[in-house]
C-alpha cells in the first residue's frame, strides 16, 4: 500500500459546493493525507476540462487511484469511472466522495462545520481508495424476448414497436380481451375518434404479427432473474407457464376513482365520467340539463395530485352532449381548466363556442349537490348560483391500478406515495426503473392521455430494445469471493441469498460455497452473515469499510 498514488479532485460545482464549503482549505488538507499524490480543485470536475485534467493527472502523476469529491455517485460515478478507464486505469480504482448532496447542500448555514465534515469524508474516501482493487465486469447473454405486461393501448403499441424491430414479444393481459381502459371509453379527444376502432386496429395488427404472442386472461405470478434473464411464471386459469424474457415492460395502466359517497353519487342521475362514457356510447343519455363537477376526489388532502386528463375528458363529453342535442344545457364546474399544449387550448376554445357554461369554484366553497339542483359559488361572478340538473357527472381522477402494489413487489420495483410506479429519475429517466431491464410506460407511471401514452410506449420500447439489440449486458463485479480454506460448507449463505447466486457444492476440498456471478446482484448479505467470515465482498470488503471507519476514528479529537 505504500506505493499507492491517489489523485483527489475536489469540485466547486459552480457555487453549489464552493459557495458553502472552503474548497481551497479542503485541497490543502487533502494534500497532507497519506498516499495522496495530488489534490486539485475544479470549477466543474464533470466538465470536459475537469475530466481532461483527471486523465492528464493519471498519466503525468502516475496515479493508480482516483478520488472525486463532488456530487453523488448515483449520477456521476459512471462518468468518472469511464474517464479513468479511458486513461488506462481500472474503473474500480475510482472512489466517489459526496460533498454536495450530503454536505454543502444540507449545511448551507454552517460553513465551518460543513468544511470539517467534508474533510472527514475526503479522508474516508482516500483511505478506502488506497485499498481498492482492480476488477473486471462479466458479460451475460440477453434472452432475445421482451415481456409486456398489460394489453391496453400502451402495452399494445409497445409490443408492436418491438415486434417491428424483429424482437419476440410476449404480451400478457389479465382480462379476456385486449384494450384496457379504452374498452370503457366511447370517443377520444381531441380527434373524437371511436376508442373501439383504435383498439380493434391495434389488436388486429398484433394478431397478425408472428413475433408477438398474446396471452389474455393471464397474470404474472412470479418473477425471478435479472436483466437479460428473467424467468416469469404466468398463470392462465389453472396452468402455470414459465416464460423467459430479457426485458420486462410494465404497461398496466391505471383506473378511475369511483366517486362512492361523494356529492351524493348514486350511479343513476349522479354518475361518474366513466359511466357517462357508457351512456353516450349506447346513445341513452336522457338528460337535457347536465352539470359536470371537476376535481372530485383529487387536489384535496387525501389525494393531492391533479390527474391531468379529467378536464379534457369533461370537455369532450360535454361537446358530445351538445353535438347530440344543441339545446342541452351543460355546465362544467371547475377549479382550473388543464388544457395544455398547442391543440388542447383550441379544444377548450371550441367547447366554449358550443355554448357550454364554465363556472369556476374554489376548494373552500365546493359545489353542493341537492335534489334537482346544484348550488355553486361562482368565483368569477362572485355570486352563488343554483343550477337545476337532470344529470350530475363527477370527474374523478385516475388512481393507481389496484394490482400495482402486488406487481411492484413481484418485480421488486418501487411505487410512489400515490401508488403509481416510481421511475429511476423523475427528469431524465422517465420510463426506466432503477432495476436494469424493467421499464414502465403509460398510466402505470402517471395519468396520461392517449397521445402521451403512445409516446411513452415507443419510449419504453426504445429503452428495452437496447439490451435486446446488443445481445448481452455487462454485470458489475461486486460479487462475493469464497475463501475455501475458511468455508465449512455450512450453507448459511445459500439460505441467505434471494437470488440462488451462491450454492454449496461438493469439491475436492469437501463441501464449499460456490458463487454464480451472473445471478449475483452484489448486495453482500451472504458475506456479512458468514459464520466463519469466509466470504469477501469485492469492492465492499471488510478492510475497505473498516478503513473508512478507522480514518474517521482518527479524526476524533
Amino acid at each position: 500500500m505504500d506505493d499507492v498514488r491517489v489523485g483527489v479532485f475536489i469540485c466547486h460545482c459552480g457555487t453549489n459546493i464552493g459557495g458553502f464549503l472552503d474548497v481551497l482549505r479542503l485541497v490543502d488538507y487533502t494534500q497532507s493525507l497519506p498516499n495522496v499524490a495530488c489534490a486539485k480543485d475544479n470549477k466543474y470536475t464533470c466538465s470536459d476540462a475537469g475530466l481532461t485534467e483527471i486523465k492528464n493527472a493519471i498519466a503525468e502523476k502516475k496515479l493508480d487511484r482516483v478520488v472525486v469529491a463532488s456530487c453523488t455517485p448515483r449520477t456521476h460515478e459512471p462518468l468518472f469511472r469511464s474517464t479513468c478507464k479511458e486513461a488506462g486505469l481500472n474503473p474500480y480504482l475510482f472512489q466517489f466522495v459526496n460533498i454536495r448532496d450530503q454536505c454543502s447542500w444540507v449545511h448551507m448555514q454552517e460553513r465551518e462545520k460543513a468544511t470539517e465534515k467534508a474533510k472527514a469524508l475526503i479522508k474516508m474516501g482516500v483511505a478506502r481508495a488506497a485499498l481498492l482493487e482492480p476488477l473486471e465486469e462479466t458479460e451475460v447473454e440477453v434472452t432475445p424476448c421482451a415481456m409486456v405486461i398489460g394489453g391496453g393501448i400502451t402495452g399494445m403499441t409497445c409490443a408492436l414497436s418491438l415486434a417491428k424491430r424483429d424482437f419476440e414479444v410476449k404480451l400478457v393481459e389479465k382480462e379476456e380481451r385486449l384494450g384496457g381502459t379504452l374498452n370503457s371509453l366511447y370517443r377520444l379527444y381531441p380527434t373524437q375518434d371511436e376508442a373501439s376502432k383504435l383498439i380493434q386496429a391495434k389488436a388486429e395488427d398484433l394478431q397478425k404479427n408472428p413475433k408477438v404472442e398474446v396471452l389474455t386472461s393471464s397474470e404474472v405470478k412470479e418473477v425471478k432473474g435479472f436483466v437479460g434473464n428473467y424467468d416469469v411464471t404466468v398463470k392462465h386459469g389453472e396452468n402455470d407457464r414459465l416464460l423467459k424474457a430479457g426485458v420486462i415492460i410494465v404497461a398496466t395502466g391505471a383506473e378511475a376513482l369511483k366517486p362512492t359517497s361523494m356529492y351524493s353519487y348514486n350511479g343513476e342521475n349522479i354518475i361518474s365520467q366513466m359511466e357517462l362514457e357508457q351512456r353516450l356510447e349506447k346513445g341513452k343519455l336522457n338528460a337535457n340539463k347536465v352539470v359536470m363537477i371537476q376535481c372530485v376526489g383529487s387536489r384535496n388532502e387525501e389525494r393531492a395530485y391533479c390527474s391531468k386528463v379529467c378536464c379534457l375528458t369533461a370537455l369532450k363529453n360535454a361537446m358530445l352532449i351538445k353535438e347530440a342535442d344543441s339545446n342541452a344545457q351543460v355546465f362544467v364546474l371547475y377549479r382550473d381548466i388543464v388544457a395544455q399544449g398547442t391543440q388542447y387550448e383550441d379544444y377548450y376554445g371550441k367547447a366554449r363556442e358550443t355554448g357550454i357554461t364554465f363556472i369556476k369554484y374554489s376548494p373552500e366553497r365546493k359545489p353542493v349537490v341537492e335534489k334537482g339542483s346544484v348550488r355553486v359559488y361562482d368565483e368569477l361572478l362572485n355570486e352563488e348560483l343554483t343550477i337545476p340538473y337532470d344529470l350530475v357527472v363527477l370527474s374523478t381522477p385516475m388512481i393507481s391500478h389496484h394490482d400495482s402494489a402486488i406487481l411492484a413487489q413481484k418485480l421488486k420495483v418501487p411505487v410512489d406515495k400515490n401508488g403509481f410506479f416510481l421511475e429511476a429519475h423523475v427528469k431524465l429517466r422517465p420510463v426506466d426503473f432503477a432495476t436494469d431491464g424493467i421499464y414502465v410506460c403509460g398510466c402505470a407511471h402517471w395519468p396520461a392521455d392517449i397521445s402521451e401514452s403512445i409516446s411513452q410506449a415507443y419510449a419504453a420500447a426504445s429503452r428495452a430494445s437496447i439490451p435486446l439489440s446488443v445481445g448481452h449486458v455487462k454485470t458489475e463485479p461486486l460479487t462475493p469471493v469464497v475463501n475455501e480454506d475458511e468455508c465449512t460448507g455450512c450453507s448459511l449463505c445459500e439460505l441467505t441469498c434471494s437470488f440462488q447466486a451462491i450454492r454449496v457444492e461438493e469439491t475436492e476440498k469437501g463441501r464449499k460455497a460456490k458463487v454464480i456471478a451472473a445471478s449475483c446482484k452484489g448486495c453482500g448479505a451472504c458475506g456479512a452473515g458468514c459464520p466463519h467470515k469466509a466470504i469477501t465482498m469485492q469492492h465492499f470488503t471488510d478492510e475497505q469499510l473498516l478503513a473508512q471507519i478507522i480514518s474517521l476514528g482518527e479524526v476524533k479529537p
Binding site: 448532496d101 447542500w105 449545511h107 454552517e110 462545520k113 470539517e116 448459511l492 448486495c523 459464520p531
Partner: protein, 260 residues
C-alpha cells in the same frame, strides 16, 4: 438527562445505495438542512453491514451509528433488509451487555423519495446521541473497562455460534421445520440472549487474561465480576481449549490463554 456541554457527537451512517442513500441525496437536492454530525458510508445493501463492523465503529470511538435501508418489502435485493433487522437487533443486545444504550444504534428505513424524512431522522438521532453524551457515559465504568467490554463484544459478534444463530433466525421463527415445529420468537430471543451473554462473558475473561497467567480471583477483580460466574465460564473456556492451567499459586490455579 441534560446534554453534555459542547458535545458534538460523531456518527456514522451506513446507507444502502438504492433507497436511503438516494433519500439522503434527495434531502440535499431539496435543501433540507440537518446537523453535520453524520458521516455516510455507502453500501449496496444494508445487509452488507456486518455486526462485527458496527461494533468496530464503537471500538473506534464513534458515538452513534445509523443503519438505513429500503423499507421492508422494498429491498432492491428482495430480502436484504430483513437480515439487517435481525443483525442490528443482535448488536443492540450485545451493546446492552456492554452497558451501552442500545439507542446508540439506529435501524430505520428511508425510501428514495423521503428526503425530508431522512433529514428528520438525522436531526432526531443526533439529538438522541447528544443527550446520551460521549460513548460510554452511561456505562458507569472507566475507559479501560469500556475498551475491554467493547473488544469482547466485537469478538462475540465474530463467533460462528452467534453468527449462525442470527442467520437462521428468520428460518427458525418464521418457517416450520421438517417436523412441522416452529420456534416461537420468545423462545428464540431467550436462546439468543443466553448465547450472547455466555459468549460475551467468556470473551471478557479472555481479554482480561490477555497475555498474563491469572487466578479466578484476579480475573474477577479485573472484570468487576463475581468469582463464581468467572469459574463457570472458565470451565467452559477450558473445555473449548481456549484456556489452560499453567500453574498453581497457593490454592488457586492460574489460567493462561491458548493462542491458536
Amino acid at each position: 438527562m441534560t446534554p453534555q456541554e459542547g458535545f458534538s457527537p460523531d456518527i456514522i451512517g451506513f446507507l444502502c445505495n438504492w433507497c436511503s442513500y438516494a433519500g439522503a441525496d434527495l434531502a440535499g437536492v431539496s435543501r433540507f438542512q440537518y446537523p453535520p454530525n453524520v458521516r455516510i458510508i455507502r453500501v449496496m445493501c444494508s445487509a452488507r453491514v456486518d455486526p462485527a463492523i458496527v461494533l468496530e465503529a464503537f471500538v473506534r470511538g464513534l458515538d452513534g451509528i445509523m443503519v438505513l435501508g429500503c423499507h421492508l418489502g422494498d429491498c432492491h435485493y428482495l430480502t436484504g433488509n430483513y437480515y439487517t433487522e435481525k443483525r442490528v437487533k443482535t448488536v443492540k443486545s450485545v451493546l446492552e451487555s456492554v452497558g451501552l444504550s442500545p439507542e446508540r444504534l439506529l435501524i430505520d428505513w428511508v425510501s428514495a423519495s423521503e428526503g425530508e424524512r431522512f433529514a428528520a431522522l438525522v436531526k432526531e438521532f443526533t439529538e438522541t446521541i447528544r443527550e446520551l453524551g460521549a460513548l460510554g457515559k452511561e456505562a458507569n465504568c472507566d475507559i479501560q473497562q469500556l475498551k475491554t467490554r467493547l473488544a469482547a463484544a466485537k469478538e462475540t459478534l465474530t463467533r460462528d455460534r452467534i453468527r449462525w444463530l442470527v442467520g437462521r433466525e428468520r428460518e427458525l421463527t418464521e418457517d416450520k421445520n421438517v417436523f412441522g415445529e416452529r420456534v416461537t420468537q420468545e423462545e428464540f430471543d431467550q436462546l439468543m440472549f443466553q448465547t450472547i451473554e455466555k459468549e460475551f462473558e467468556k470473551r471478557k475473561i479472555l481479554i482480561s487474561i490477555g497475555d498474563d497467567a491469572l487466578s479466578i480471583k484476579e480475573i474477577a477483580r479485573k472484570m468487576e465480576a463475581s468469582p463464581g460466574k468467572v469459574l463457570r465460564n472458565i470451565v467452559s473456556l477450558e473445555h473449548d481449549g481456549l484456556v489452560s492451567v499453567v500453574g498453581i499459586e497457593g490454592n488457586s490455579p492460574k489460567y493462561r490463554r491458548v493462542r491458536g
